[in-house]
């Protein structure tokens, strides 16, 4: 028997495979395809203090080996999550994280405080890296002082696992990573989407209503791997790596670069069963390489 369980700073996951926020709904959308309980964790759709309608259509553009999105955190607000969604999903036997976003520090704090009361939510993922909202979101995550301020403020009220999701849209990701670690983050997840753009030349128009949006899919994987590697060498807290993971091999690359766990995002759209295939593929890799503990993969890159 191989050990697949990983420890995120005191929070145990049955395996390192999680789903990325905004790509997996609340888990329910995938119940027809997989057993949610088989996953290490799920991060549910970005939640804000108040209802948000999100951005106008079109919100999506297919790009070479990936896609742009500009959903803009459409959600019905944290109170709706607590009253309507949470009772339906709290039975999942997996680590349920709520992705928390906001446009002001007080909003993040108020949302996190409410989620702190939910027994079956062991952690939140603080989203300081959403590129698709006009105010807040990524604005917090691209400068150290604001990233620290929001992380510290939430840390004061949130008593469980605090994962902070980092933006790749920065000059030096390690500076933000170290600052957020210092402000009390229990783990760091990266990367959120890369700010990008697509144009329809025939119409001379942008493909997205917001003109720019977040790029995801295998096209971002090399950038994501590089950033996970850099952050792994800069901080002590566990890293949850993501960015274009399509299969078990991609997941293992992220773990070798330093990720303790990984999140699968866009690939869920192409194969709603991909998460289970990745878990099986990691087991298969461990058998082939005679590795008994998945934790031995973490940061296991041979560089000399």
């Amino acid at each position: 028997m191989v050990n697949l369980a990983v420890d995120l700073n005191g929070l145990s996951l049955k395996n390192p495979v999680m789903t990325a926020s905004g790509t997996f709904g609340f888990g329910e959308e995938y119940e027809d395809f997989i057993n949610i309980d088989d996953l290490g964790g799920i991060v549910v759709k970005g939640t804000t203090l108040h209802h948000r309608e999100g951005n106008p259509y079109p919100r999506m553009a297919e790009t070479p080996s990936g896609m742009l999105n500009a959903v803009g955190l459409q959600n019905k607000g944290v109170d709706y999550f607590i009253s309507d969604i949470y009772p339906r999903i709290k039975h999942y036997n997996t680590g349920i994280f709520v992705n928390v976003s906001g446009s002001a520090i007080e909003d993040y704090v108020a949302t996190a405080e409410k989620i702190n009361e939910l027994d079956n939510i062991p952690g939140i993922e603080l989203n300081i890296s959403c590129p698709n909202v006009k105010e807040g979101g990524m604005a917090f995550g691209v400068h150290c002082p604001s990233a620290v301020a929001v992380t510290e403020a939430v840390r004061k009220v949130y008593k469980k696992h605090l994962m902070v999701k980092l933006s790749p849209n920065v000059t030096d990701v390690t500076e933000i990573a170290k600052a957020v670690e210092g402000a009390g983050a229990d783990s760091l997840s990266l990367i959120n989407t890369l700010l990008g753009m697509a144009i329809n030349a025939e119409k001379r128009k942008p493909s997205l209503s917001t003109i720019t949006g977040g790029l995801s899919g295998p096209c971002v994987k090399p950038v994501a791997l590089r950033m996970v590697w850099q952050v792994y060498n800069a901080v002590k807290v566990p890293i949850v790596g993501m960015g274009g993971i399509m299969n078990a091999n991609d997941a293992i690359e992220f773990m070798l670069a330093g990720a303790r766990a990984i999140q699968i995002g866009t690939a869920n759209f192409i194969d709603p069963q991909v998460t289970i295939k990745v878990i099986d593929g990691i087991k298969d890799y461990m058998h082939r390489h005679d590795i008994n503990d998945v934790n031995d993969l973490v940061g296991g890159l041979i560089t000399e």
Binding site: G25, M60, P64, N69, Q74, G217, I270
Partner: protein, 279 residues
């Protein structure tokens, strides 16, 4: 095949309820036939190894196109018909981009990876109603299965199909087996010259209809919807918004409704125009 074919009238709410509890699956089907019908269109039959689940008119499949950086996401394709005895889903494919061209190249024996059945359904009106089914271009696809189900339920359907010219018009036999078929072509090469909205069925004869269904290019559907609305006739449109997941997870394919943004993939693709903003 399901309640609809047994002549049971189902309200939209009931149908949505069915869909909500109905399970979706991802499956490798086998192409059993690929027949070219003209320069732009092929009809593909794909067989499941299992008994097909209930499939409602207006629903779609989401097809994984193999290979290539430019066909990264699945392609949503409307269900044209089903052959229950052979467990076949029948799709009308228009070659418009790299994805649809690759799908159109599939041949007998090839596998085709689909998530299905997806989306809600057109509603079926009371027995004895008259229904106008207006399809333009590849938008005729769901009209065939809809026409059959309507007829099975005691509704009298009339097809009105539009195309640019007769070279890319559908084969009409299958529609004619179900109901009268009227045609418009933009160049007048078959039927009445002009758009579907130029046909008497959309004008002086529209009053006799109880419901209008439409699927096709956005300007066509809006023109059809405007005429139906003007005469206060119920009108359902099947939207084709860009989507990433097809199962209500990504929230990319939203349409602006009077109740806020709704997903075309799970809360549509069929909408009553009275529920939509700016229609």
């Amino acid at each position: 095949m399901h309640d609809l074919s047994q002549g049971v009238y189902m309200s939209k709410q009931q149908i949505l309820l069915c869909n909500y509890t109905m399970s979706k699956k991802v499956e490798l089907l086998t192409v059993t036939k690929n027949r070219r019908i003209n320069d732009e269109y092929v009809i593909i039959h794909a067989a499941s190894q299992d008994k097909l689940p209930s499939i409602y008119p207006g629903q779609f499949v989401d097809i994984k196109v193999e290979n290539g950086p430019n066909t990264f996401l699945r392609r949503p394709i409307s269900i044209h018909e089903v052959n229950e005895s052979k467990n076949e889903i029948i799709l009308l494919i228009q070659e418009v981009g790299e994805g649809s061209r690759l799908i159109a190249k599939l041949s007998e024996g090839d596998s085709i990876d689909m998530i299905y059945p997806l989306g809600n359904s057109f509603t079926i009106p009371a027995k004895g109603s008259k229904a106008l089914l207006v399809g333009g271009g590849v938008g005729v696809a769901p009209m065939l299965i809809l026409g059959r189900i309507l007829k099975d339920n005691g509704v009298e359907p009339f097809f009105l199909l539009g195309a640019r010219n007769n070279k890319i018009l559908m084969e009409l036999d299958n529609y004619e087996k179900i109901a009268e078929v009227a045609v418009t072509t933009e160049d007048g090469s078959q039927g009445i010259k002009g758009f579907v909205t130029d046909h008497p069925l959309m004008n002086e004869d529209l009053n006799q209809m109880n419901i209008v269904y439409t699927c096709g290019p956005d300007p066509m559907m809006r023109a059809v919807a405007a005429k139906a609305k003007n005469k206060d006739i119920k009108c359902e449109v099947s939207l084709e918004n860009l989507m990433a997941c097809g199962i209500g997870a990504c929230l990319c394919c939203v349409v602006d409704t009077k109740e806020g943004h709704k997903c075309t993939c799970t809360e549509g693709p069929v909408f009553d125009i009275k529920d939509l903003k700016e229609w």
